[in-house]
Symmetry: D2
Subunit: 359 residues, 4 copies
Amino acid sequence: MSNSFGTLFRITTFGESHGRGLGVTIDGCPAGLELDVEAIQQEMARRRPGQSRLVTQRKEGDTVELLSGTFEGKTTGTPIGMVIYNQDQRSKDYSHIYDKYRPSHADYTFSAKYGHRDYRGGGRSSARETAARVAAGAVAKQLLAHLGVTIHSYVDQVGDIATNLPHEDLDLSQIDRNDVRCPDPTAAAKMETEILAVRKAGDTIGGIVKCVIRGVPPGWGEPVFDKLHADLGKAILSINACKGFAYGSGFEGVSLRGSAHNDAFYTDADGRVRTRTNRSGGIQGGISNGEDIYFRAAFKPVATIISDQESINEGGEAVTVVGKGRHDPCVLPRAVPIVDAMVALVLADHALRARSNRL
Amino acid sequence: MSNSFGTLFRITTFGESHGRGLGVTIDGCPAGLELDVEAIQQEMARRRPGQSRLVTQRKEGDTVELLSGTFEGKTTGTPIGMVIYNQDQRSKDYSHIYDKYRPSHADYTFSAKYGHRDYRGGGRSSARETAARVAAGAVAKQLLAHLGVTIHSYVDQVGDIATNLPHEDLDLSQIDRNDVRCPDPTAAAKMETEILAVRKAGDTIGGIVKCVIRGVPPGWGEPVFDKLHADLGKAILSINACKGFAYGSGFEGVSLRGSAHNDAFYTDADGRVRTRTNRSGGIQGGISNGEDIYFRAAFKPVATIISDQESINEGGEAVTVVGKGRHDPCVLPRAVPIVDAMVALVLADHALRARSNRL
Amino acid sequence: MSNSFGTLFRITTFGESHGRGLGVTIDGCPAGLELDVEAIQQEMARRRPGQSRLVTQRKEGDTVELLSGTFEGKTTGTPIGMVIYNQDQRSKDYSHIYDKYRPSHADYTFSAKYGHRDYRGGGRSSARETAARVAAGAVAKQLLAHLGVTIHSYVDQVGDIATNLPHEDLDLSQIDRNDVRCPDPTAAAKMETEILAVRKAGDTIGGIVKCVIRGVPPGWGEPVFDKLHADLGKAILSINACKGFAYGSGFEGVSLRGSAHNDAFYTDADGRVRTRTNRSGGIQGGISNGEDIYFRAAFKPVATIISDQESINEGGEAVTVVGKGRHDPCVLPRAVPIVDAMVALVLADHALRARSNRL
Amino acid sequence: MSNSFGTLFRITTFGESHGRGLGVTIDGCPAGLELDVEAIQQEMARRRPGQSRLVTQRKEGDTVELLSGTFEGKTTGTPIGMVIYNQDQRSKDYSHIYDKYRPSHADYTFSAKYGHRDYRGGGRSSARETAARVAAGAVAKQLLAHLGVTIHSYVDQVGDIATNLPHEDLDLSQIDRNDVRCPDPTAAAKMETEILAVRKAGDTIGGIVKCVIRGVPPGWGEPVFDKLHADLGKAILSINACKGFAYGSGFEGVSLRGSAHNDAFYTDADGRVRTRTNRSGGIQGGISNGEDIYFRAAFKPVATIISDQESINEGGEAVTVVGKGRHDPCVLPRAVPIVDAMVALVLADHALRARSNRL
């Protein structure tokens, strides 16, 4: 079991794809924060199925009910409980796979681990679980906004189509201007075409989300194990379909020599400590240095496809998994708000943890 | 602060580069394990400075003293305390940088966070800290060996020189046969030449460690936040100089379509559930599926170089950081046992956590 | 913040007295447990207001909605989410005290700590919060029943009226036979008379709950900090109004000499290790020894009384807190199921933790 | 396993009675604290065997070696590692009981739990383990002194001999003036006579430690589970031989009516919120209210006595445990610094946790 995340700003989630509902409890949000419930709902809308032609057409209202933790519009320091009831469950859709292991899904591993599992829509292993993360992340975002921190995730690559632009050259206020959530309009158009072609083929495609974080002051991150990038990495890798995480110069940086890779320090006109380059990705020794934090995360193609696949059932017998139903041809546009949410949760936690650095 | 790692098999470390010593306490090692103290020392030797021409020539004995937790050669279930005293400290080497921020080191961020720092050799931010991890990991490895699990990390790439061979085509028993710790002798020779050239130039170079884990049974990993790959990712990213982590098909998998990426299940001749391909990297839905687990980790070039660099001091004034002293031209050969150790710690923890899956 | 309890069988609760609802998530319940939802509701009924003349007459249905974690009647190893909506809130009842600090309540300390608080019925500091604990404890009880463990809390003392009988001489199946929840009918009758007299006087009275736990096998409890009695003590002390906890010989044992206090070991006819006396209270060195575990817990008189009291308001000005409304004259009868619940949560956790004792 | 304590100011201990040594790591001590190493050693001297005629005559220097976490006399925010080597081990003393279960010791329960145990002097179950707690607590005390908090534990009762004075009537600066550590000289003299008589009889006796804490500001304590008194209770109950904990009015308060028990609020001449009485023991709703915090803790008579006792061995056969060796006739004088230490650890932790209360 492990359905809690965070140390001081800590969430605990529950809920299955086709159970009665999902929920999350936030423990540790400081008192006195004006909480904009509508803003939570807007983040939910960014993750919601059916929001565009590029995503699954399932209909889920994803209305968040706030049950506790605020009084007269402000947080009280007590736990914030939120519930999202499931609506469009269509459990009958799944009777044909109740004992079958869908390829590259978690059906087999959940069976091997727990013995007894809810097979409907993947149960707890469904990405539906991330709805609770987004609701909690929307609260964390509001705490961070109060601290001057903003998070900008976007789709950097779909299949082989990439922006090929550094984030400094993109207008990050444009992320939600298209259905792909890529702030490079030219690349976005190509990505959209690619996703629609993949959908038509009954297939799926992967991609890369990039995230840029601005406004984090120097000093967040807790060595030696909870380094800021290590906690970000875990948070992002825990999202369904994520296969890789790299920050700063990442995998590309390994080819450089140290003399070319190092970021030189200088003092800027405002007396602030800065670095001339930012291959460190805003984090040095696991602690933020005040520069932009940025990372990339790889998402594999969704495992559910509209073709028949060979597999086995719980008895070990060969079976065919028939492709049908509604699914996401590409998880990337909906992954963006989930990445935002997980980043917000990590940063809110570290903001509080940094309060104990000094006497 | 965050100097503990793990939930049930849990380590806590302490120690600075130039303090009196380092140490680690392992809490949660089950009773009854025959502990081979010599095997711990052998892992230390794999991480030790001065072991070859490819690494720093500092002299450190790195002798581990076992202070508690065993009786008559076997663990008792009580915490295992181990201490490693520092010997070759040469603190005077560092007087020239006591108030300077070395580029791409953690000098500035530690100052910004804590106000007061031990500048000698980076203090707690030094990779010397990983000696304690290796000692603990060596105990975890012995627990895992008892469970049939083996870990094989190796150098897959140095700069632009890569093995270009899938791990299935390499003889993983040959990892320690050369100083680079690359089981592909041809690539290893080229890597060695490259590292020596870099050393001669007073520079440094990065690279990639690959890790293959065999024998993990289906069922390890704790969704939704402590997925097995998420915990591995955090563990590896917490190692000094690590910039990226990717498992299974990783960043390359994003270009594939789902129909090409999915791993088909079948039942093998022994009645075991298997997959025909392994793009999942042995983990599905965050839980091991019985196939080989594998991942790659990117390490940047070491920040300490033998050239003068422009920087600033604690007062914000421009200064020159003079390049001198002993350093690693390439951290990769010594990173291998550290990756092994962190993997062992994650797996030992998850082995115990999986004991609570079912009634 | 601290609204989670337990390590492997872990609950997280939320909810205020007069908010929309309360809830609890259980993380770590093993898969495969047949869950009797009706039995959960029965425990809620034991804690419910309005159940007898001895308790507050507020009307609360306390219906538990199970939202996740089970499938076809059995647990799946995923988190169990439960919600209890508030019904009889009567928030207007509290307008007269919105800025007043009620004596011996948590109004002042919550203000001092958080700045902003929900004053209605005490908000999060209300004992209403324990409804979520009881729902979770009812699940833990079912896990323990499967393991052969039973928990028997009862009212041992009200004011100065005590049973004066050792638990071995009481029929613990009779606890729920009277409204006081005291299995000694003679004492129960006196206690009932006392509570009704106190109620008539608009006053309140304290008392002692005793708890006897049967069937715990040797080996539960985790030294040195999570000793079984230390975790029980914390769990019980965290219940509203609890002022003391003592197990085994408790405070009385301090007067004995060691030669009189020690429990001699012997082997019984079944070859089981037993002790001839049980001043250890079933726990030695923090670990269960197979004997009955027992402890006593002191509960102060409820702070809400029907008399006017002098106090101050948030501005520090002298005010009168007018006594009115519904309240419990004696918390003891309703404390019994709460003690049961907290004990069940501690034991379920330790049952799982003990699985990692040995290789 | 559970050898860590605390959330933000967190210690991890190791070590057996007759192993090579003990140790503790403090993780989370803020940077910038001037650390007085001599003061740590002085607390060790208060716990040390052989300090007076009233305690065991074992000789242990208990020298603390500080290995990390400070630089130039001040803490750096990195973990503080301390080691205490064992000296006077006399392992041969214990060969006569290697397979025997000493009555009311943890020999049997450790065997039942772990299978394999270090029988020498009780191994990890020995109160020798608390030496590491005292070393860590001495650091916590220094942090608290910086915050204006002082801790005053003393012996309130030995056997049936009690001070019978409220703590307000005692001069708490006199605690260390006599060997018993009771600030009431008349009672102290009687207690000393009693302990010497018990020692002469080869027997042991229990007692009660009282603790008074001054200077804690309003707002420390984390409802609903980590209430300040619940964490204090757990900390104290985790000390060897402790059987009970009660704060404020404790077990005596149950006989009072609410109207007599409630503490009335008023504003004092300095504008501070105060209560006229303090039956709450300085904690309301689990949060400090600024008044003195006080509690009492019961300690049973030490189990080791100088008489033969009937018992069994690991094979279940009847044996005689021969009484011999050095032991404490009364644990109370040495329990005082251990109580101090555990209180300091709890308070240091809560001081840091309270930093996240508000925006």
